[in-house]
């Protein structure tokens, strides 16, 4: 009986325990960093907890920050299923926000529901085109999609900044250049009883849909086949090119959607504050979630919490708010490095105790 439980639990335990161990190691390293700059590690961790999750106020703040991170995390995780490393979420978010703001202003005389739907649609489509270009360049011109998406990202940010300071600038926005506002009445509101806007729900629903499609549909299986081995997918008759561009576009849609939500729910217009690093933090979120759309949700909330705690850290201990970025960086590196330990611990292998020696069993077949 015990052996049966062990056999069932151990393989599941490994993917949970190894990252948990990695988080502990990362915390240890970060504690060293804090001690080095002359602060007390326990106090900093306590403030991190307080600022991110300690009160209902900070928790709601965390969720507001987590909502774009879920979508920008998906922007990396979905193309990754097709074997691509696309890291240009920031740019797709920027152009998505810009065009969504334009659409919102153009529609601002219609019903709020129409405005919101129009903005989200335009934002997602813009993002899809933006990433789709990276996918297309990879397939038909042999351009590495990681590089092209990163460069497109800077182009997207530059495009946003150019437009809000130039052709699309609202003359009324003097010290903070921005597009014309979509109007307070048209903004996406908060979830009843919370100080968190509906964008969080949209993000979670998108993540759930992505997870469901990947796991339970033929589309998901085809996509994972394309990502796992394009040659085998071709042999199975799948048009790999279309799947690759499609997966890139879906990721871009998620990033563009997050830009549209930032405009429609937070800012009310497109301005330079839209580019707040969500796209880049989304890369960390997706990698730590192992590109699993479901895992993106909790990881995004964790990172949202760390982000939210940044200002508290600044106020209480007078530490720069980049401190939390240091922590995120350490987390990222340690968790990625811990991947190499997966499958190495004999402890997690059912029946491992009977093996005479560790290592290369099965190397010879």
């Amino acid at each position: 009986m015990y052996a049966g439980i062990k056999r069932f639990l151990l393989p599941i335990a490994e993917p949970v325990l190894v990252p948990t161990g990695a988080v502990l190691v990362a915390m240890l390293l970060f504690a060293g960093f804090i001690a080095l700059v002359g602060q007390s590690p326990p106090e900093v961790f306590w403030i991190l907890y307080q600022g991110g999750f300690g009160s209902s106020f900070s928790l709601q703040n965390t969720l507001v920050l987590a909502s774009p991170l879920i979508l920008t995390g998906l922007a990396v995780a979905i193309p990754a299923q097709a074997g691509m490393v696309i890291i240009g979420g920031e740019g797709a978010l920027a152009v998505g926000a810009l065009l969504a703001a334009v659409a919102g202003y153009a529609l601002h005389d219609t019903a709020p529901f129409i405005v919101q739907l129009g903005m989200l649609t335009v934002g997602a489509l813009t993002g899809a085109l933006w990433f789709g270009l990276s996918g297309w360049l990879r397939n038909y011109r042999g351009v590495n999609e990681t590089i092209s998406s990163l460069l497109l990202s800077y182009m997207g940010i530059a495009l946003l900044n150019y437009c809000i300071q130039g052709p699309l600038r609202d003359p009324a926005s003097t010290n903070n250049p921005s597009t014309r506002p979509i109007g307070d009445a048209n903004m996406i509101g908060n979830i009843p009883g919370l100080d968190v806007h509906y964008g969080l729900i949209i993000g979670i629903v998108c993540a759930l849909i992505a997870w469901f499609v990947l796991k339970f549909t033929t589309i998901g299986l085809a996509l994972r086949a394309v990502g796992g081995n394009p040659r085998a997918a071709q042999m199975a008759g799948l048009r790999v090119n279309i799947w690759v561009v499609g997966a890139a576009a879906m990721g871009g849609a998620a990033a563009g959607l997050s830009g549209a939500i930032e405009v429609a729910a937070v800012h009310g217009d497109a301005n330079s504050a839209i580019v707040a690093g969500y796209g880049f933090t989304g890369i960390l979120v997706a990698f730590i979630a192992r590109q699993n759309p479901l895992a993106v949700i909790p990881v995004a909330i964790l990172f949202g919490g760390i982000d939210a705690a940044g200002s508290l850290l600044q106020r209480r201990l007078d530490m720069p708010d980049a401190t939390v970025i240091v922590f995120q960086g350490i987390l990222f590196v340690v968790i990625l490095a811990s991947d190499t330990f997966l499958g190495r611990f004999r402890f997690f292998k059912p029946g491992a105790a009977s093996e005479p020696k560790p290592g290369t069993a099965g190397a010879k077949s």
Binding site: L238, T360, A361, A363
Partner: protein, 523 residues
């Protein structure tokens, strides 16, 4: 390592003795108490089926593996070979079946580069003088200034061997060195090595599957079976049947598989027609230069050729893994481009070589891999898009049982399976559906004796049920045994065609080597 330095001074073939060598990987005993001795200047053949322990044995000699037990004696002194460095100091070198030359460098550059330690600034004139002086001692010329990538396979293999001599190796391990060569090229390369051995400049241990090479070149032979010593002897005192018997462990019925004697119906409309097919290779070089072929139902068309003459690319085009640059492919008279709809409509089945690379997704589970053909059709799919996991798992369970796939369960990742089981999983997936057209490439590469017989029987069974079969193989014996017609592919063209029962192995070899006889046999 003092002893190895002393040995290095003398320039004669190494006398090598292996005593009681054992090596295990986890629960698998790859090599069990194997001993053999090769005197200086000996030419020793190591025979055995795939998985018999030949590779493990030679990898212990070149320092890739450390044996768990046993001794190695070089020139009668005990030596330890913990890493390739020590092997190299002893003068032990290995030539692999695949080439290790850098294609974009000239032969001279390749040779100079192979020397382990080079100064930061290379004195090319001096190196070249040394090289030329060295080459002059050889019985044949090699083109020092040609790029390695432009050499023919036989030339490349010669350069590999010359590289070992240039590095002053005195014990040469040849791991299936002729598997990519024509018979003529093989004779030239092995003859060269044999002469060096006869002159006692070199001791040779060769792994091969070709009995012809054993009888023609080796002095002695050692046979391994499942990691154990299975027999040895002087080649002069053994015949091929005796050696084969040691390999498989039971007297071999020396008969080809009984074929259905129903003659092929020439009136039948071809099921697969390829017209004027052209395609380019990975380096954008033309690899298929106008292929025309037709396969009728109930016929096995065998494509022979030395590897690298476009067979791989032809299969890739047919499988949809490579774009054609021009030409047409018809199946059942309809244009065919390899979409899922066409594959299932025309019942096309594919068994490419290297199944893990070409036909499986390593990161998906065994069950998912087994569903790649029909995951989007009922009963595996509901409403056209929902996966029915239960049906998918049931199908996988059925395949695993029927085809004897050894796996940690159907949800294990494909990459955890051994090579033979990957092959079985692909066979299960492909052969469990109705089939009209079968595209097969080197189907028994890397399989053991029983699996080869089983796979061949399956192909003949498919032929008997009117399947059109295109069989691409580098193994002439396999083609002669199975095919109805054989065409020879050379430099991206089909240069010769002959009914298999009229085929002469020497004529085939001639065309495979790129020769062109006056008259062409055409059916």
């Amino acid at each position: 390592m003092n002893s190895s330095k002393e040995i290095l001074g003398k320039s004669h073939g190494l006398d090598l003795e292996i005593i009681g060598l054992s090596k295990r990987f986890g629960d698998v005993i790859a090599l069990d108490n194997v001993s053999l001795r090769i005197p200086s200047g000996g030419f020793h053949a190591l025979l055995g089926e795939n998985g018999a322990g030949k590779s493990t044995l030679v990898k212990c000699l070149v320092g890739f593996y450390t044996p768990d037990a046993g001794d190695v004696l070089a020139d009668h002194r005990e030596v330890k070979i913990p890493s390739p460095r020590e092997a190299s100091q002893l003068g032990i070198g290995m030539v692999y079946q695949s080439f290790t030359l850098v294609p974009g460098m000239t032969v001279a550059e390749n040779l100079v580069m192979s020397k382990g330690s080079l100064p930061a600034l290379i004195n090319w004139r001096k190196e070249r003088e040394q090289l030329v002086a060295f080459i002059e001692t050889l019985p044949f010329k090699i083109p020092l200034d040609k790029f390695a990538g432009t050499l023919a396979a036989g030339e490349k293999q010669k350069v590999e061997i010359i590289k070992q001599l240039y590095l002053q190796r005195r014990f040469l391990i040849l791991d299936e060195p002729t598997s990519v060569l024509t018979p003529d090229e093989a004779d030239e390369v092995l003859g060269f090595v044999k002469n060096l051995a006869t002159a006692k400049a070199l001791t040779v241990l060769i792994i091969t599957h070709k009995f012809r090479e054993v009888t023609a070149y080796a002095d002695d032979v050692t046979v391994l079976r499942r990691g154990k010593f299975a027999g040895c002897g002087s080649v002069a005192n053994l015949n091929v049947d005796q050696m084969a018997e040691m390999m498989v462990g039971s007297p071999l019925a020396h008969q080809p598989i009984a074929r259905s004697i129903v003659p092929m119906n020439l009136e039948l409309r071809p099921y697969l027609v390829v017209e004027h097919l052209h395609a380019r290779g990975d380096l954008d070089q033309p690899v298929l230069n106008g292929i025309d072929l037709a396969v009728r139902p109930g016929e096995i068309l065998g494509i022979a050729g030395v590897s690298g003459n476009g067979q791989k690319e032809l299969v890739e085009v047919l499988l949809g893994q490579r774009k054609k640059s021009s030409g047409q492919i018809f199946v059942e008279g309809e244009p065919y481009s390899g979409t899922r709809a066409e594959i299932s409509q025309h019942k096309v089945i594919m068994l490419p070589e290297e199944p893990l690379r070409n036909a499986c997704v390593a990161s998906l589970s065994v069950a998912e891999n087994m569903a790649l053909r029909n995951y989007d059709r009922p009963p595996l799919a509901k409403f056209g898009f929902l996966l029915n996991r239960r049906a998918l798992n049931q199908q996988a369970q059925r395949y695993v049982e029927t085809f004897g796939v050894k796996t940690d369960g159907i949800n294990a990742k494909m990459q955890t399976l051994s090579g033979g089981n990957v092959q079985r999983a692909v066979l299960a997936r492909e052969l469990s559906h109705p089939v009209n057209l079968l595209i097969v490439a080197n189907p028994v590469f890397g399989l053991d004796f029983n699996a080869v017989a089983e796979t061949h029987a399956r192909l003949l069974a498919a032929r008997a049920s009117s399947t059109a079969i295109l069989l691409v193989s580098e193994d002439l014996d396999e083609l002669l045994e199975l095919a109805d017609r054989i065409v020879v592919m050379s430099e991206g063209k089909l240069v010769y065609e002959i009914p298999a029962d009229q085929a002469d192995i020497r004529v085939l070899g001639h065309y495979m080597a790129g020769g062109h006889l006056e008259e062409r046999a055409v059916t």
